[in-house]
Symmetry: C2
Subunit: 406 residues, 2 copies
Amino acid sequence: MGLIVQKFGGSSVADAKRVFHVADIVTKTYAKGNNVVAVVSAQGDTTDDLIAKAMEINGSPSKREMDMLLTTGEQASAALLAMAIEKLGYPVVSLLGWQAGFVTNSVYGSARIKRVDPERIRKEIDKKNIVVVTGFQGINRYDDMTTLGRGGSDTSAVAIAAAMHADLCQIYTDVEGVFTADPRKVKNARKLDAISYDEMLELASLGAQVLNNRSVEMAKKYGIELEVLSSMNDRPGTIVKEAAKMEGMLISGVAKDEDVARVSIIGVPDRPGLAFKIFSKLASKNINIDIILQSVGRNGTKDISFTVSHENSKETIAILAPYIEQIGADKVVYDEDVAKVSIVGAGMESHPGIAAEMFGALYEANINIHMISTSEIKISVLIDCKDADQAVSVIHEKFFDKPVKA
Amino acid sequence: MGLIVQKFGGSSVADAKRVFHVADIVTKTYAKGNNVVAVVSAQGDTTDDLIAKAMEINGSPSKREMDMLLTTGEQASAALLAMAIEKLGYPVVSLLGWQAGFVTNSVYGSARIKRVDPERIRKEIDKKNIVVVTGFQGINRYDDMTTLGRGGSDTSAVAIAAAMHADLCQIYTDVEGVFTADPRKVKNARKLDAISYDEMLELASLGAQVLNNRSVEMAKKYGIELEVLSSMNDRPGTIVKEAAKMEGMLISGVAKDEDVARVSIIGVPDRPGLAFKIFSKLASKNINIDIILQSVGRNGTKDISFTVSHENSKETIAILAPYIEQIGADKVVYDEDVAKVSIVGAGMESHPGIAAEMFGALYEANINIHMISTSEIKISVLIDCKDADQAVSVIHEKFFDKPVKA
């Protein structure tokens, strides 16, 4: 008995049969006496289809119009889910992002939620309605439609859960929960019963792609307990919560991220502030950089390497190219055939030998490490893309086949 | 130089090529120094496809959710048209019905516009933007999406033209204008240069289906000059305006309507008020009745016949069946194999011989008349459906092959 927010991704509502399956989950939760808010993404490939339709007309449409187009996707799936719930005989109402009170900034295509005013949701819940809300979208101060960017529906769900002080936020996906490694690639990968927000954050940003990063940040900020579970079966998923509430496990998972490119600026003069200027320039264009490595080059110069996503690699080069001459560096080069492999674990802090074990596993497998980055609960290495799957396997074997409990 | 509202139907924006053709019309109008508001329907068969998708899930979804689903159609086409206009290098913004200020009542599926607050449109025009507005939709007092019903985009266009005091409202369709009869059926049918609001109203309600009736009513009320024209060529269309401003022509057109069923209540006792009660009952269910004929039945009873659309015929029978016994009538029967053929002409009033000429043409062709209805500018006959095309031909020949000028 309580308020439960349930989020269903595009594959969970891809066709009429799946829409009914989701309606079944939602109405069963409601029938147990809970209030339910269901957040839905666009059906299946709808978003990609809409993008293709736009591209046929204009290769670089304004992002405002793109959002106007894309927001139709969740609107349709929300209406269809509501119709399925009606068909099952339950009271329901679907709401668009703006009706549900999602106010965002004006960065079309990847807007950030400024606030959620859940007055209308509350009103509908008071009327005993199941509320279906379109994920991924909101409205800005100009009353224009915005989208939160890919994976934004997770964030929508958590934002509603936070604004409504929900008891639980369930994220239904096509996987059964969070695993110690990608179960399609690593045969001994195990589902975790629980994971901390911080570990989940590292895993999400490392390409595990189970949960959208911003949604986990928000859940952490507001203390919303998440459950990641499959819409295909009734098994319990993985709970994401405060580390303090968890039984400690040394390492929670091994993740691989192939969406990474290494950019190197060769021969940067050894003057103070140059690195700062370079990274400020990229930050001002909203380009996220990840692992940074500074090494000594020839003749007292430095080489500065860092990683960006594939999406940003060409833009990064374009931004830096004219700048290279200006600062007196030699050239800028990039390499997309790299991958980042990482281990994440809240227990890592108090066990200093973890990094050595990880590097040992890679050494034994003859895998060369280009760059290393560590945080309190994460160790990442940049390696050749071709070695990535093997790297995940040998690291997973090292830590999980004879698991070390903290 | 002025403000022009241009409305484009679903077939005019059916695919990328046609969207660009529309973008071309709009931007050429803008390039001549006009402010332009373009009102669009959903692309091609989108609305039907969405309805089919809903039916797969729920055979009788709530109309609220249906409107939530259907309004995605124009939203997508408005965004795509805006992208095409951007591609041509013009400043543009697309607006949803509610952004454009369309406030409607809450009759989902066939809402009526209560008012248009065109503040946002005005603001965008002040910024020199071409404004693309979704037709067919608005928002009600609960902030929920509503649709105006089929053909509602015409009404949207006229409502904007009225609210903005536009200089002209152009309705682009797949025909070149208003004809004296259906040009696909009657080979000598001619395009009219101009027609009065009242004549157009009669023609629209008679199945000519060139313009939505409510849009013509609204144009008449606010004195908005309409032009019906083809998006496929550059030829001038038909102007719809005040009768006072027109050169009089005796008859403007001959129309056929096959979406008509005759309902007869047999053996109604001859008591005052019964007919009133019957028609009130139907009116309370929003069933429009058209031609009414009351005739003497057996034993001092009356037979009351009237016509309704096919869509309403079964419901009419369902409403009346239990009522028949109560009022002491014998039975209610209906016939869908009938058609209404009508002539319309503002000049008719002052020429009493018109009806006789029309009936004469039908008599000569051996066509039997079941019911007759006349107004100041219209004469309609109900005949067998099989005779309808021939009836239109012989009447058209009578009046137009040797046209009688007023």
